[in-house]
């Protein structure tokens, strides 16, 4: 029966159908602890000197792409905003805007993906909301999540603390998510084997804790890719990258080449860029390489030169600028 069932406007109307949707699909998946009894607001107790609080919205198209879907992407995106701010993610909210006529089976697949990603991270969904809009007023499902995390006081992160000679590390190949979504959207290269890198980067952050004082900056390079992330971090010192060291998936290289997109501008959703003091770089790289999330980690360059300037040393020995992306490179990739 669920194969033919659709989301109706009444499922967001606050009446019996709303209740049914929440109980059957939400409470059954997330209804423990704070969500128990469906209060209007979650009551939380936090034993931490400081918290981090973030919010993000997700409108990716298509909803399902190789390696993930809007559901796990939303969880990972929210977890990662907390993680790279130096926090242990604890609690999440989940708001859904559903389009009238959405197949019930699609909703269930997305919610299953959310549940799996939340469980894997050890966090809890503690509050949420569902609205249904008329057909044509949204594109299937839009998700909005907020997250609360406990500050990890060992980290003292600031781009201004980056010094010449600091080392840039990345946790894996760059731009996979952008190319995977684009190939799904355009029905191009679907047999390329390329999958989105969507994942939580918190294990990478946690692994850096023993050397936290040597970590200057960390970020998951989402929209705008590595280029935008490094420009953002270059407020105190520039960066020089070595083209021969940049890690790319072969299939992503082919897709990006054909579409005329630079993988350095393409988004990742489960990678980490960290700028660290040279004396801790080797230790962090070694511990990352031992984790599934960091098995493709490598060093790609160093802090050098004047603020705001990111350059690339090319294979033939030339030097080029690595500019910020301009214009609408890839809309609706997250």
């Amino acid at each position: 029966m669920d194969d033919e069932r659709r989301v109706l406007l009444a499922h967001g109307g606050g009446g019996r159908l709303s209740r049914e949707l929440i109980e059957r699909e939400i409470v059954s998946r997330f209804g423990q602890e704070a969500l128990q009894g469906l209060p209007d607001a979650a009551a939380l107790t936090l034993n931490t000197p400081s918290i981090r609080f973030t919010t993000d919205s997700f409108v990716v198209q298509p909803l399902f792409f190789p390696g993930g879907c809007i559901g796990d992407l939303a969880v990972h995106g929210t977890l990662n905003d907390l993680a790279v701010s130096g926090a242990r993610p604890l609690y999440l909210s989940l708001s859904m805007i559903l389009e009238e006529g959405l197949p019930w089976s699609t909703l269930r697949r997305v919610l299953d993906a959310i549940r799996a990603a939340v469980r894997a991270s050890g966090t809890l969904v503690v509050t949420g909301d569902t609205k249904v809009v008329r057909r044509g007023q949204c594109d299937g499902i839009y998700l909005s999540m907020a997250g609360i995390g406990a500050g990890l006081e060992a980290f003292s992160l600031s781009p201004a603390s980056i010094r010449p000679g600091d080392v840039i590390l990345v946790s894996g190949t760059l731009g996979d998510h952008g190319m995977a979504v684009l190939s799904a959207r355009e029905s191009l290269f679907l047999d390329s084997g390329l999958v989105s890198d969507t994942a939580s980067v918190f294990p990478l952050v946690e692994a850096m804790l023993p050397w936290a004082s040597g970590v200057r900056f960390m970020r998951d390079p989402t929209r705008g890719g590595l280029a935008a992330t490094l420009h953002e971090a270059s407020v105190g010192c520039g960066f020089v990258l070595d083209e021969t060291e940049l890690p790319f998936a072969p299939a992503a290289v082919v897709i990006a080449d054909l579409l005329g997109i630079s993988l350095l501008h393409a988004p990742c959703e489960g990678r980490m860029v960290a700028v660290v003091a040279p004396e801790v770089a080797e230790a962090i790289l070694a511990v990352w390489l031992g984790l599934p999330e960091g098995c493709g980690a490598c060093r790609i360059g160093r802090a050098e030169g004047m603020a705001g300037r990111v350059t690339l040393r090319t294979m033939i020995g030339g030097v080029t600028l690595l500019d910020m992306p301009h214009g609408e490179l890839l809309p609706r990739i997250c």
Binding site: P164, T173, E186, L188, G238, V240, E243, T244, E245, L246, P247, F248, A249, P250, V253, L259, G260, E304, G305, M306, R309, T311, L312, R313, T314, M315, I316, G317, G318, V319, T320, L321, D323, H326, G327, E328
Partner: protein, 374 residues
């Protein structure tokens, strides 16, 4: 994948660079400089992206020609597309054109105001849209050199076979060889050699440049797009200059044949005829464009909407024309980084992904303050 860390490739790059230095030094002792023009936007970008320009000896200059089809398309073309959108057409375009300035606004602005403007990666998308909405005119913005004209005409051929009646091309196709003739004829431009495009040559063939080498004594080398391809082509050009020869070398034989692709040329000739067309900033060049044959007027967007592409209005300070002819480098333009910027483009050379100004803006470290530590 670490594509360029292969020691064999790095070694080949070093050997070619050394050979280029040596050949250039021999020419320098004779007081000779060599100005090489590339006439392909993909080469322009590949050169910029590799940082090659600043590794070359002082008497060897790389200059960019009119190799970007978007850059040689006038604002009146965008105006015409906008008017068709206003009149209810669905406009389908490659992404490159979306932010190219028309006389007043660009296509992205028109889309934000409600115009139905779609960006596609393949012309086939236009055919699909036309078949999905047979009552609605779908206009494909058909610009490009021979390389791009081929798949667009292939799509039109399929549309005809399928009996599609609501698909129209707004054509502004350009051909490379007549542009070379016009550049050579300009007394203000000195070109000692051409780096000829790889993709275009796959269609038209390397022999298409023989008239340049044979009648003008200007060496031509057809090259691919990897940094090594370009180094190899430069070495080939210098070898010809040192020996005083002028011929067409095809260093992209893995893709390009002397006679080109006969089948595609035949298909294109069935639909297209040479036409005198206007190149933005350069002017009208005889037989330098391709227009639909009269019998295919029902598929011509200008005929269907009964409007003719006008020249349009170009910003009075825009020097894209000078850049396209290699008379100035982008930083020598009055507007470069001073009002013209990829986010606020005044000329198409700044916004096209293959534009010369975009290449310099995005990749060239000169003109950005030098770093204090390195």
């Amino acid at each position: 994948m670490k594509g360029f860390s292969d020691p064999a490739l790095a070694g080949a790059a070093r050997r070619l660079s050394a050979a280029i230095q040596e050949l250039a030094a021999r020419l320098a002792t004779q007081g000779k400089t060599v100005r090489i023009m590339e006439v392909c936007g993909t080469h322009t970008m590949a050169i910029a992206r590799s940082g090659l320009r600043h590794l070359l000896p002082a008497n060897l200059l790389l200059t960019s020609g009119p190799g970007c089809p978007v850059c040689v398309t006038g604002p009146g073309y965008i105006d015409a597309a906008l008017e068709m959108a206003d009149r209810g057409a669905c406009i389908v375009t490659f992404g490159d054109l979306i932010r190219v300035p028309g006389s007043k606004i660009h296509l992205a602005e028109a889309r934000a105001r409600g115009g139905d403007i779609r960006v596609c990666y393949s012309p086939m998308e236009a055919l699909r849209l036309a078949q999905e909405a047979p009552d609605r005119p779908v206009v494909f913005l058909a610009i490009g050199f021979e390389t791009t004209a081929a798949p667009i005409i292939g799509m039109l051929d399929l549309a005809l076979q399928a009996g599609v009646k609501n698909l129209f091309l707004l054509t502004a196709f350009k051909c490379v060889p007549p542009a070379l003739t016009a550049l050579i004829a300009d007394p203000e431009i000195r070109i000692d050699a051409f780096l000829c495009p790889g993709h275009v040559s796959a269609i038209i063939g390397a022999d298409a440049y023989r008239f340049v080498a044979e009648t003008q004594r200007i060496p031509c080398v057809v090259a691919g797009f990897e940094p090594l391809d370009i180094l190899l082509a430069i070495e080939g050009i210098l070898t010809q200059r040192v020996s005083g020869e002028a011929r067409v070398d095809n260093q992209y034989q893995r893709v390009v044949r002397p006679e080109g692709n006969h089948k595609i040329k035949q298909l294109m000739a069935r639909y297209l005829i040479p036409a005198d067309v206007d190149w933005r900033g350069i002017g009208v060049i005889p037989s330098s464009g391709l227009a639909l044959r009269p019998e295919f007027r029902p598929y011509d967007a200008e005929a269907h909407f009964d409007l003719e592409v006008q020249p349009g209005r170009i910003h009075p300070d825009c020097q894209c024309g000078e850049v396209l002819k290699g008379k100035i480098t982008p930083p020598e333009c009055r507007l470069f980084r001073r009002g013209c910027h990829p986010d606020h483009p005044i000329g198409p050379c700044m916004v096209s992904s293959e534009g010369t100004c975009a290449a310099w803006f995005h990749y060239d470290p000169i003109g950005i303050p030098e770093n204090r530590h390195g």
